[in-house]
């Protein structure tokens, strides 16, 4: 499998970015829910890991967009209806946007509460804003709202991929997997 995208399939780099981010996002939802059920000292390490993973997602989102910019993605199947093209573009850009916005809101809320973001204990990110309780509340709400939106957009994204794979029986899901594409039989 080649590193760069081809006309038919995502390359190794894009696939690796995609699936690593999938794994990290799932981890983030698990950690966030775990932290919500904890209090005091027990909550600290869980949230610290959540923040470190979040900053990793943030960094990967930047790298992914750079890679995408240098390396155009394979086009959609020629027979894709225009509403699906619009929906696919909208959901993909929503996903990219959320991968930026959610960690950024997390970073802002940590700064606003004077709980700075450490990267796995190796170094600490600078605070974006000064401590401020109302701002913390706002960024916290926004962080959770955006995460909920991500959850639903991701569900649509998965449903669409499965629809292509199981109903349309095309290569749309396969092209994001390290597998051979099915020969086009039209």
């Amino acid at each position: 499998m080649q590193a760069k995208n081809s006309q038919e399939q995502y390359g190794a780099v894009a696939q690796l970015f995609h699936w690593i981010v999938v794994g990290l996002i799932v981890t983030q939802f698990i950690l966030a829910n775990k932290a919500a059920g904890l209090e005091g000292l027990a909550k600290l390490p869980v949230l610290a890991t959540h923040k470190s993973v979040g900053m990793t997602v943030f960094g990967l989102a930047i790298l992914r967009l750079l890679w995408r910019w240098m390396n155009p993605v394979p086009p959609m199947p020629a027979n894709t209806p225009s509403w699906q093209r619009v929906a696919a573009h909208a959901s993909h850009w929503a996903l990219y946007g959320l991968l930026f916005v959610i960690p950024l809101l997390g970073w802002l809320m940590s700064s606003a509460r004077n709980f700075p973001v450490s990267y796995f204990g190796m170094f600490t990110f600078p605070d974006l804003i000064a401590p401020n309780r109302p701002r913390y509340e706002f960024f916290h709400e926004a962080h959770e709202l955006m995460a909920t939106i991500l959850f639903y957009v991701a569900l649509v994204h998965i449903a669409a991929a499965l629809k292509h794979h199981l109903i349309d029986r095309d290569n749309v899901l396969r092209r994001m997997l390290p597998v051979k594409l099915k020969p086009e039989n039209r």
């Binding site: 005091g40 610290a48 004077n114 709980f115 600490t124 401590p131």
Partner: protein
């Protein structure tokens, strides 16, 4: 008879003279700051003590007569997060209900040159008294004198961290204390 009284009086006045040799300063609370920096899950955070008093007798030329006496109201801790403040004041950390005040007294001063000084003093926190050295600079200006410095200590030396809080992987043992005081005569 008179002689017997004069000798102790002389001795007393001499003692007062020595004690008064180093300048007595008055701390300006609004322009003075005392903070500590803790490390929580690998990330440092700063917390302020909003109420403290510092009785400072200091003269760079009379270190022997110099003396710091600082009392910190532990209830006044502010880390910009009320939940964390409650935990800090709680029974496992400062235990402010039992020990509301921390006390620091420094008497041995050393001139390190270039306006830098160090002192060894005793910090009493949670009823535990231990030596804590401080490093500071002292600069006299038009609006008074500025005393700025820091100290490092280990919270567990004072029992700040009982039960689960003894674990130093989530909350580091090392704590840095920073102070910047404005003093007037």
């Amino acid at each position: 008879m008179m002689r017997n009284k004069i000798v102790p009086l002389l001795a007393l006045s001499l003692l007062i003279g020595i004690a008064a040799a180093a300048t007595q300063w008055t701390m300006q609370p609004k322009q003075s700051k005392l903070t500590f920096v803790g490390t929580q899950a690998g990330a440092q955070f700063e917390a302020v003590f909003e109420k403290f008093t510092a009785d400072i007798k200091f003269d760079p030329k009379d270190l022997a007569g110099s003396h710091f006496d600082v009392k910190i109201d532990l209830n006044s801790v502010n880390s910009s997060d009320s939940e964390r403040d409650d935990a800090i004041k709680g029974p496992d950390l400062f235990a402010v209900k039992q020990w509301p005040t921390a006390h620091y007294v420094a008497e041995k001063f050393t001139d390190k040159g270039g306006g830098k000084f160090s002192a060894t003093g005793k910090l009493t926190l949670r009823n535990v008294t231990k030596d804590v050295p401080i490093e500071f600079t002292f600069e006299e200006g038009k609006d008074g004198a500025r005393l700025k410095g820091s100290a490092s200590l280990k919270r567990l030396d004072f029992g700040v961290g009982q039960g689960d809080w003894k674990d130093t992987s989530s909350v580091a043992n090392e704590v840095k204390v920073r102070f910047a005081l404005l003093l007037k005569q």
